[in-house]
Subunit: 154 residues, 2 copies
DNA sequence: TGTATTTGACTATCTTCGATACGAATAAGA
DNA sequence: TCTTATTCGTATCGAAGATAGTCAAATACA
């Protein structure tokens, strides 16, 4: 930082400020950087309720549904059933959801009262987060954001 | 952000076809899904040259520069130095880059001839990928995509 | 009805990515 | 010289995602 640093900084070295990241014009690269930055931020916010992004997503998804199985949740969120098991397991251990037998093979994953209370906090956190995210996007681009993203995976 | 006044949403029926993901209107969620989908796709494409996305990014970044240290690369790509070490190590092992002493402490990471040849393949792959990505976005949203994303992290 | 296939939940294990914590060597400053 | 900074690197951890495969229940069908 200090201009007296021993860094050679010879004439051939591009100035740190004058040389923009040449990758920043690549849509895929900016998509990755933006998603990483936003998910890191959301993760920090959600640490307040000791939940990870994927866990919070599950709570948001199953709210108001009482017959969603773990495999249906996995299909909706694109999480393999092998990865759903420990995910649901942790939520069960924490008393946020419970498994209710549907037919002897399938289990419905439903919110407990504690889960509903936590979900309330999750909604508060995510709504603030989503609002802030949109606010950072210049107004003229804002309405194009979600439709453009949805075209990439839906 | 939920549009409570919008569509009746078919009531309580969890119809397999008619039940859209209620999270799909959340900007942060769509950002994550789109980025995951795109990076998985790019990863598949780059497996042709046996490189991961982060490794290809490094090659693209250091091309034409001969005094970039591993810490400068890490700063540019937002990769911790602890994670840079094995990343560079693998590229060195594969003969794509080499470490050149700058001043006895710092090492410049530069492309080898093999690295330049591989970079040529990487450019071909990523250019096709980036073009395809943009093509998937409806034309009226396309020009807003990169500016909106850049507002989130730059 | 009886057999075969599919499905749902789960375990174990592997890979990638990112983050800390720490150690060694060099450079810079008191 | 001694101390502090920085740089590079190690070891290790955690989250997320993927494969392979077990087991039992549900379903399809001859």
């Amino acid at each position: 930082m200090a201009d007296t640093s021993g860094k050679p900084d010879s004439g051939s070295l591009p100035a740190p400020d004058g040389e923009p990241d040449p990758l920043a014009i690549l849509p895929g690269y900016t998509l990755r950087r933006a998603a990483n930055a936003m998910m890191a931020e959301l993760g920090t916010l959600l640490s307040e309720v000791d939940l990870r992004v994927s866990e919070a997503s599950i709570l948001l998804l199953i709210d108001g549904r009482d017959t969603m199985t773990s495999s249906q949740i996995g299909t909706a969120l694109d999480i393999r059933s092998a990865n759903m098991a420990p995910l649901i397991g942790r939520l069960v251990t924490r008393g946020l959801v419970e498994r209710v037998p549907l037919d002897g093979k399938s289990m419905a994953i439903i919110l407990t009262p504690d889960g509903e209370a936590t979900l309330h906090e999750v909604r508060r956190i995510t709504q603030t987060f989503e609002q802030d995210l949109l606010q950072r996007i210049p107004a003229e681009h804002r309405d194009h954001f979600v439709p453009a993203l949805n075209a990439l995976w839906r």
